[in-house]
Amino acid sequence: MIQIDVVMSRLFTEGASDLQVKLELQSGSLTALVGPSGSGKTTVLRLLAGLEIPRQGRIVVGESVWLDTYRRINRSPQQRSIGYVFQDTALFPNMTVRENIQYAAPKDQQTLVDELIEATGLESFVNQKPIRLSGGQRQRVALARALVRRPQLLLLDEPFAALDAKASQMLRQVLLELHQRWGTTTLLVSHHEIDVQALADRVIQLVQGRVESDERIGSTNSYLTGSERIIRIEYDENQQHWLIETASMKLQSTNPDWEQWNVGDLIQVAPGNHSGTAKIK
């Protein structure tokens, strides 16, 4: 569980006032942070990363206190287990794509590096410097770099902004998979409905530095009803069947209707309505 309660002055469209955010994030949850331009989304991520220090506030992650202005505790960014995808990518110009990703990788994680390079579709560019990449390619490198340390808290600032529909669909899948596999808590800033719908189990709307709305979508329900979000769906040509993966299930079926499902859809295995043959592995 991550508890955040911070106050900080900022200039907003309506004039200078306080950014004042109080939140609790469930461990392992994926929360979307939305809101108009300049509403303070990036600022919240930076506060969590330790790149801004609030006038007053407290950030507690699980057992450990990352920040407490009263008790004068303030962990440096290095001491917080985070992965941060910056809005402007902030890749290191002197390093190639591989070196950028490898920079923070633990010694024994070479396979993860390779996996991430493949998952983000950067194989052809591993030896290029960032200056020779397109905007979308840069964003993919930034995502891979942020993931390579398996952070406890993942902060994503518009990670798909420069990506076309197909590429971002692919990356959403990668992200969801890793998120589930590692149980990372993720906070995602995005302007795009589709990201939010496909990924998040909670949507927090910021306006002028305040939380305007906070909805749990799917997830809470899914937790109660046993519904889960699809994180992978593919048709296996050899075995001639569909394959769906969620956090805790793997489902196979030869039912052609399964074609209708997409990544991010909520599904549940409900009793008695004979809609298909699902076998739980």
Binding site: G83, A104, R149
Partner: protein, 221 residues
């Protein structure tokens, strides 16, 4: 009069060693100055430039006082590590280090300060220390500034002379560097020999600087 090559080699050795050592000392110092938010930083910055404002021979005289075997520091160095800093090549190196320090520190510090903060922040959020960030991310991205530091240090050490003359004692093969040799020739009104030395020194330095700049161009393009 035939050219004596000893002073030339000695000069190049002195300039090379000084530049190398200053890379090792000056660059981390510059990085620290660029990154730290230490309140007395302007004072440290000003102090580093101070040796520059005194005439080299006067700095040399003060160093002489400090390092002479009758001073406590000089006596202590001699006693413990048998290091004598006056009238020796080691002394020249130490003096050149002090005198050329600002030429390495200031440009590199400026270079690091001018980089976008987001690279530093990105490295920190990736859990990497300021030191690793400096060496792996920041310094490699301010090559022109490093180059400036190297060129200014190298060239200045070659030309330095008042200081070297003072602390070195003009010992052939040991502390008689090229600048002193030229100086002596001019003093003797042996203009021909002085010209020859000057041309040689200029030629060599020009070749080295050109090489440095050309390599730099190759590397960055």
């Amino acid at each position: 009069m035939p050219i004596d090559w000893d002073p030339i080699w000695l000069t190049l050795r002195l300039a090379g060693i000084t530049t190398l050592l200053l890379l090792l000392i000056g660059v981390p110092l510059a990085g620290w100055l660029a990154l730290s938010r230490f309140r007395l930083k302007p004072i440290v910055e000003a102090i580093i430039s101070l040796p520059l404002v005194l005439p080299p021979s006067v700095v040399g005289f003060y160093l002489l006082l400090t390092f002479s075997p009758t001073s406590w520091l000089g006596a202590w160095l001699l006693r413990t590590i048998n290091l004598q800093l006056v009238f020796s090549f080691e002394g020249l190196v130490v003096a050149s280090l002090i005198y050329s320090l600002p030429f390495m520190v200031h440009p590199v510090q400026a270079g690091v300060e001018n980089l976008p903060t987001s690279w530093r922040e990105a490295s920190y959020t990736l859990g990497q220390s300021p030191t690793k960030t400096l060496w792996r991310v920041l310094l490699p991205n301010c090559k022109p500034a490093l180059l400036t530091g190297i060129v200014l240090t190298f060239a200045h050490t070659i030309g330095e002379f008042g200081l070297v003359l003072m602390i070195g004692g003009n010992l052939p093969g040991q502390t008689r560097v090229a600048s002193i040799a030229i100086y002596d020739e001019v003093e003797l009104l042996h203009f021909e020999t002085a010209h020859a030395y000057a041309v040689l020194l200029l030629g060599l330095s020009f070749a080295i600087l050109l090489l440095v700049y050309a390599i730099n161009k190759r590397v960055t393009v």
